[in-house]
Symmetry: none
Subunit: 280 residues, 2 copies
């Protein structure tokens, strides 16, 4: 048994990174060489095979194993897992660093972790929204919505807060809307008035509420332009024609954030109002 370090191997990237940095100067030549390369291009460590990494770092594969073992891992693969986790789940490194700082805060009470978790989810959602949404899509949607007489807002369950907020905001801005999805069962009748001169916004996430689906289909069949906000390109709501947005909300403890959807909703709302103000 050549057990080197009594300390347990770090399981998260940033702890490991600190450990490598501090111990680097005390390491044998080749191991230090690996340390340097690992810090310089951690992505290669995450993806490459031991052989390819060894070649790029100008080291023997066995040295990589030794390197991993020097830090308490059983083999190289185990260390590699840590490098991979960093890229998993798309926690952008910034957020991860923050959440780790927070985690170091003595863990905190259960409540604190809850709040931190939901805050994280909100921030990650907004971050990914910012990365992925194409401004031209928004402009296309706004073009539809701006020339509509009445905008029908379709959303059940988790999406209802979003549509209700849009209803409020549109109202404040002087845009006529009809909010669908309340408790009463009068929605199909309400939607019957929608026509080609109107527009509709449908919001739904997995699991897609069947009512939302039916309603979206109904207005679409009536020739009403439809703008969709959903969470997958394979969502049954995604229209053949028309604009749709993919919004991926991060979740915590199974409860997805709404921040990204709301940010997008507000953007659409205000943009539509602005276009109207200019044209009208």
């Amino acid at each position: 048994m050549t057990d080197e370090t009594g300390t347990a191997a770090p399981r998260d990237f940033w702890t490991l990174r600190n450990l490598i940095v501090t111990r680097k100067d005390a390491l044998p030549k080749r191991l230090a060489q690996v340390a340097l390369y690992a810090m310089a291009s951690p992505d290669d460590i995450a993806f490459g095979t031991a052989a390819s990494i060894a070649e790029k770092a100008a080291v023997q594969p066995s040295t990589l194993v030794r390197f991993a073992q020097a830090f308490g891992y059983q083999g190289f693969s185990e260390l590699q897992e840590v490098f991979r986790d960093r890229l998993r789940d798309r926690p952008s490194t910034y957020d991860e660093r923050l959440s780790q700082l927070r985690a170091h805060k003595d863990g905190g009470s259960k409540t604190e972790r809850l709040l931190a978790g939901f805050c994280d989810a909100a921030e990650r959602s907004v971050g990914s929204l910012r990365e992925r949404i194409d401004a031209r899509q928004i402009e296309a949607a706004v073009a539809f919505l701006a020339r509509a007489e009445t905008i029908y807002l379709i959303g059940q369950r988790r999406s209802f807060p979003v549509t209700s907020y849009m209803s409020y905001a549109f109202g404040k801005l002087g845009v006529k809307t009809v909010l669908v999805g309340s408790a009463q069962g009068t929605d199909p009748e309400t939607l019957a008035f929608a026509g080609p001169r109107d527009a509709a916004i449908a919001i739904s996430f997995t699991p897609y509420a069947s009512a939302t689906l039916a309603q979206a289909r109904q207005v679409s069949d009536q020739g009403t332009p439809l703008v969709v906000i959903t969470d997958s390109p394979f969502s049954p709501l995604v229209p053949k024609l028309g604009v749709w947005f993919e919004v991926v909300e991060a979740d915590y403890e199974g409860f997805r954030s709404l921040s990204a959807s709301l940010a997008l909703a507000m953007t659409l709302t205000v943009a539509v109002a602005e276009v109207r103000r200019q044209d009208g």
Copy 2:
């Protein structure tokens, strides 16, 4: 040689993604299944081995190879490489953020600035929530709410999305709630049932809706414990007894974010449900 597609295989992720999305409906059942999984969790495709991915997608490993070949790749590994590049090419977060900020501040269309503005507002709101909220306050509020028979949710206008979301989430968690503030004028009658064994959550921001104020006063007079979420210590809602939270939402173009309020709302909701589950 069973060369299927004359088209060359996409070498970057987003092109491939679009291709998968468009061709998905024309794909055989199992291949469509793979497509669905690949879009739902692309990170797993990037990291996992063919065997592990196949298991998670409930498909045979050979199907993965066929899937890759259906899109013009020679084998699965080649397709996997595209999924990996997506994560590899990600610029270091600091630079990315900086360049994004720069793009948003300087150039960018009006629409882009709108979206960025609302995203910023959301992030700032959540950030300040994280700093200012005291976990002990949350725990105190949770203690009130957890022992309530029925929770009354009071909120008009901008606060209504928050209460309606809480209503949805509480419902999913098996907690009885009554949502006040809908369009009908029956709210005072509904609230008449609130008693000392219940609890109420009132949410209101400047300008405080008079209805919310009246309703909060009503339940308070009836001896119902009240938890308040508002935006100022001088808010007329702040109760003499009971718990209240100050949530300052950042705004953009006069429209305040809801992200912080929602994050707090979700924290309260889940925390209450957890306490109830423990106590039976």
